[in-house]
């Protein structure tokens, strides 16, 4: 039972990692508009996979609430909404490096989550520093160049929520 749970949890983490990677690639890759439906297709596929693993987790965990897992993917979907709010896709070119750093940090945290030798603090610190960098960029540039600067503030808050959510998730499921 415990092995099965661990295996399903691993699959869930893997799907979550794939999801965040595709969501961020929509901001990083410049061919997004040309191949929009390819990206949407990938998101659809991973989303179905993720929900499938959630269903399995619910069966295995019984009455135990999985709100920390739900919260994690909800935040990633919130990050996906960001692209609807920024009318000019070229704005993302300004923060391309920051976006790359975000996806790398989240990927490092999720990929190594099940590894006992993994030092969580380092990756979390990197993610925090990436968020701070983005916040700085937001205050110095994005606030000026963006048509609707408030959506970047929402993005920053969602990134902070994601960091906290990852922290809670790791504490509840991985290190428990």
């Amino acid at each position: 039972m415990k092995t099965k749970l661990k295996k399903t949890l691993g699959k869930f983490i893997n799907s979550l990692n794939q999801l965040q990677s595709i969501v961020f690639s929509c901001y990083i890759k410049r061919d997004y508009f040309a191949n929009r439906y390819d990206y949407e297709k990938q998101i659809h596929r991973v989303r179905i996979q993720l929900f499938h693993h959630m269903k399995k987790m619910r069966l295995l965990c019984g009455d135990q609430p999985l709100s920390s897992m739900e919260n994690l993917y909800e935040i990633i979907f919130s990050l996906n909404v960001f692209k609807l709010r920024v009318a000019d896709h070229a704005t993302f070119e300004v923060c391309e490096n920051e976006m790359k750093l975000f996806t790398q940090c989240i990927s490092a945290i999720l990929t190594n989550a099940c590894d006992s030798r993994f030092r969580e603090n380092d990756s979390m610190a990197q993610l925090s520093s990436a968020i701070n960098n983005f916040e700085e960029l937001y205050r110095s540039t994005l606030q000026v160049v963006s048509y609707e600067p408030i959506v970047f503030l929402y993005f920053v808050q969602n990134m902070i929520a994601l960091r906290e959510g990852l922290d809670i998730f790791l504490r509840d499921f991985i290190y428990a």
């Binding site: 979907f77 919130s78 408030i150 929520a161």
Partner: protein
């Protein structure tokens, strides 16, 4: 009787049965090998998603062709290749044509069925998010039901080989539904947060009024999808969203620096912004249904 043939499962069942009987007869008279390859191949190439039977069937034929070619290479016999391929090609052609000609499954019925359950789920999930934010003595039910509704969404809309004319419209509709799902998940994440009770009390009434209009709009979309008459006088939601924003601005400072200071403000401001996103997406959905 007409209803029987509207069910895609039954259409598929009849199509496979007829193809199987025909394949067994052909196998009896024309097959070279004794392995029932004609009916087996016919059934194999008929296992395709809805809407792209011909393309996916031909892909399966190519796959079998490659497998037979590899097997022939291993046994080093061209005769083996010709004998097997004779039966395989007959079976595959029968399967592909049966799929395309004999009671083909209707993509529109399947698509509407899947979309209907999701849109129903939208309305419930949306209202439960509002209740959760306003803390109307509700326990967070989580996302289990909503996730299940989502899993029925047809992935074949994205597949290669699906009718080009239909694909553009279906794909557009599906993407909009997925984007609405994202917005609703974002709202759920924001609704989970513990807000200052006084702040929530101030926004309660305009939020409930706006939510009620959104719910009615979703019900109207549902009625159209169910091929019923759409209710009249459904608002285009612009007035409601503007009013909600106005009310929110009267309560919360909208200066970025001030907003930044308190998480409650940012979260609630984003929750209100989600109404704007939702309106945009719902209008596009309604336009597509017109």
């Amino acid at each position: 009787m007409r209803n029987v043939f509207e069910s895609n499962q039954l259409r598929y069942f009849f199509s496979i049965s007829i193809a199987l009987v025909a394949a067994l007869i052909i196998n009896h008279y024309y097959a070279i090998t004794n392995g029932f390859l004609i009916p087996l191949t016919a059934i194999y190439v008929m296992q395709t998603p809805i809407g792209n039977s011909f393309y996916q069937g031909m892909r399966r034929l190519i796959l079998i062709f490659m497998l037979v070619a590899i097997a022939s290479f291993i046994v080093f016999s061209m005769r083996f290749f010709y004998l097997i391929m004779h039966d395989v090609v007959i079976g595959a052609m029968m399967g592909v044509f049966a799929n395309v000609i004999i009671l083909p499954r209707r993509a529109d019925i399947e698509f509407r069925k899947a979309v209907l359950s999701l849109v129903k789920g939208f309305n419930d999930y949306f209202m439960s998010n509002i209740d959760l934010l306003l803390k109307n003595e509700v326990v967070d039910k989580g996302n289990a039901t909503f996730e299940t509704n989502f899993q029925t969404l047809p992935a074949w809309v994205y597949e290669a080989g699906f009718d080009n004319g239909l694909q553009v419209g279906y794909r557009f509709f599906l993407v909009k539904l997925e984007q609405i799902t994202d917005v609703l998940f974002a709202m759920h994440h924001l609704a989970r947060h513990d807000y200052d009770k006084e702040l929530i009390a101030k926004i309660r009434l305009p939020l409930l009024q706006c939510a009620e209009e959104f719910s009615q709009f979703l019900s109207a979309i549902l009625a159209v999808l169910e091929l019923k008459k759409a209710p009249e006088n459904v608002s285009d939601l612009e007035k409601e969203v503007t009013e909600l924003e106005k009310q929110f601005q009267a309560i919360v400072p909208l200066s970025l620096e001030l907003l930044d200071m308190k998480r409650d403000y940012v979260y609630l401001s984003e929750f209100v912004f989600c109404f704007k996103d939702l309106r945009k997406l719902l209008m596009k959905l309604a336009e597509a249904l017109r």
